[in-house]
Amino acid sequence: MFGFLFIIILLFCLAIFFIAKRHAINIKKQNGFLHSLPKYYGFYASLWFSIPTLCIVLLYSLFAESFVTSNLVNSLPENIKNLSDNELTLVLNNIKNFAVGNISDSSSFASIQQAADFYNAQYDLIHSVVLYSSLILGLLTFIYAYRSITATYRARNFIENAIYLLFFSSALVAIFVTAGILLSVLFEALRFFEVINFSDFLFGLSWSPQMAIREGQVGSSGLFGAMPLFAGTILISLIALLLAVPIGLLTAIYLSEYADTKVRAITKPILEILSGIPTVVYGFFAVVTVAPFIRHVGSLVGLDIASESALGVGLVMGIMIIPLVSSLSDDVISSVPQSLREGSYGLGATKSETIKKVILPAALPGIIGGILLAASRAIGETMIVVMAAGLSAKLSFNPIDAVTTVTVQIVTLLTGDQEFDSPKTLAAFALGLTLFVFTLFLNFIALKIVRKYREQYE
């Protein structure tokens, strides 16, 4: 249906474009003057033509389904109409499936064929209404537009505004999607907080989300203190940053200040490859290579290191974010104006003095912004930790202990068959919300810092 409508509308738009353009050219010939190029009048008229269509399609997608459904319910026999809500939904779904040809349970009631026909007929009716009303209204608006074309009409400015609206609405979509995600997580999380106290969740020291399945079952009280998870997340991210920030920063300085163009041309792509490796691969690198190695080194010095130690996970995650730190820092360091370097060299400073005293201070805010972005990446990272970190929620800041993170717990809470209203499942949303708010906050600060830094030179 939509494909058909779309093609018809498109053909009409095309025709109208040329008609209006022709018209504009004629006006120009008569008056010797036309405010805008003829093509703008073409766009102007086609735009007017398509506006009603867009509105009607919008209305259709908003209301058609509920309209048809309520008609369908009214047409059903009395005994079905009186079913409970859940059962009625089931019946309606059966009818709809039947109507589109996915024949499922046809035995539910005798007249299902009849109901499905009714449903299809309703839709056919609506579709032709949509098609004809768009065409008729569109032609009316087109006639209006056509008659408003005069030599002095500012079609170019009109199109400019229309394009502005287009960009603006694309931006709105992004914002609405973000808001939608946030809200859906928020509502689930609120349901969780009806059961579990907010501060118990945020500051509680023990985490064991197993709920009692039967009344009076022992050992499964369901503790939702997320502190150990936060601690684990922060520990692993800190280890990652401790590795990534120095290496990334020094790499960036080398690349932007010391390396000649040849080295740069080779090294930069290699770093980018590093950031293109799927995180699953990093995950088994951690499990198969790094963790056993650390365990081995530990045993040499008599340390008993857990094979799922925070150290191993943190190091691998650090390797993963090195390219992020280095490329962001490289960008800010390279955007420090050349004239500052020359000013410093001109006073007899060496390269390293210049870097230390002029370039890094000037680039520092940007570098910090980059590090914060890397941090929020590390905190939100899931795959590596799911594969290589432990599940035991132990409140510990010892890097050789096995700790677990927020993302790992979200994954374990939501995988497998779950009831969607037990606190155990809802806890995942609460964790997700906390994570979301925290990384949003980090990103916000990072962007603020980066932006402030940009203003300094522009």
Partner: protein, 276 residues
């Protein structure tokens, strides 16, 4: 027009434009057969010039003729541009500037530079001026450093305006103030030669007068090479002038002579505001 230029350039060969100074013991810097290339483009062709003690030499010429490029050869700042290649003999008080032995860092401390565009560091006014003295260890105590900073700012004619906010950022100053800050920064390390690339292009007449006064004062002890687009300024402060044209050094001599009775057609045209 191109042809006429070419002709005029050829005509130059009839005159001696080595730019040498009569008494050789006064020579601070000398440049022989300087050629500069940016990639394939030649920006300077066979420049010969000497800079004497206690003199101000003005480099004049149309935009893009290579004045800044020439200045940057004198403290090897062109080394920092990858595509730039410099040939020729350069010496500072008898030492070869481009030899492997030359300590470039010290060279740049001895040959100070004020850039065409003001480029204060994003630090405080104080830190901007103290930057050079600090890295070279010129002063031994905080008090000495403070005095040096004040003195340099004062000589650049900036102290009065900024003495209450000496710790606010140098980038918050106006364009002309920034330029004077850069001058203060350059003289704080007491160089032997000062290269100034249009130091007054962003300044009002009063500040310009101050800087010209400073230049007059500095030339007692230093040699100054100054690029300027203002003919009257060149006439006021310089003893000798050199006219550059499309990478050639056309004519060099006493400022008075250059302005009143230039030997070369191109110079005459430039000074009288005619082109080609």
């Amino acid at each position: 027009m191109k042809n006429i230029d070419q002709h005029n350039v050829n005509q130059k060969k009839e005159f001696e434009t080595v730019g040498s100074i009569s008494s050789s013991k006064d020579v601070v810097m000398s440049v022989k057969d300087c050629n500069v290339f940016y990639g394939e483009n030649q920006a300077l062709k066979n420049i010969n010039l000497e800079v004497g003690k206690s003199e101000v030499i003005a480099l004049i010429g149309p935009s893009g003729c290579g004045k800044s490029t020439f200045l940057r050869c004198l403290n090897r700042l062109n080394d920092t541009i990858d595509s730039c290649r410099v040939t020729g003999e350069f010496s500072l008080e008898g030492e070869d500037i481009y030899s492997g032995d030359m300590d470039v860092v010290l060279l740049r401390a001895r040959v100070g530079m004020v850039f065409q565009k003001p480029n204060p560091f994003p630090k405080s006014i104080y830190e901007n001026v103290a930057y050079g003295p600090k890295i070279h260890g010129i002063t031994s105590s905080k008090r000495e450093l403070d005095e040096l900073v004040d003195l340099s700012l004062d000589r650049a004619g900036l102290l009065e305006e900024v003495k209450d906010r000496i710790h606010s950022p140098g980038t918050s100053l106006s364009g002309g103030q920034q330029q004077r800050l850069c001058i203060a920064r350059a003289i704080a390390i007491k160089p032997d030669v000062i290269l100034m690339d249009e130091p007054c292009s962003a300044l009002d007449p009063i500040a310009t007068e101050k800087i010209e006064g400073l230049i007059n004062e500095l030339k007692e002890n230093y040699a100054i090479v100054m690029v300027t687009h203002s003919m009257s300024q060149a006439a006021r402060v310089s003893q000798r002038a050199a006219y550059f044209h499309l990478g050639d050094l056309i004519e060099v001599g006493d400022t008075k002579k250059i302005f009143e009775d230039p030997e070369h057609e191109l110079t005459k045209n430039y000074i009288h505001g005619r082109t080609g």
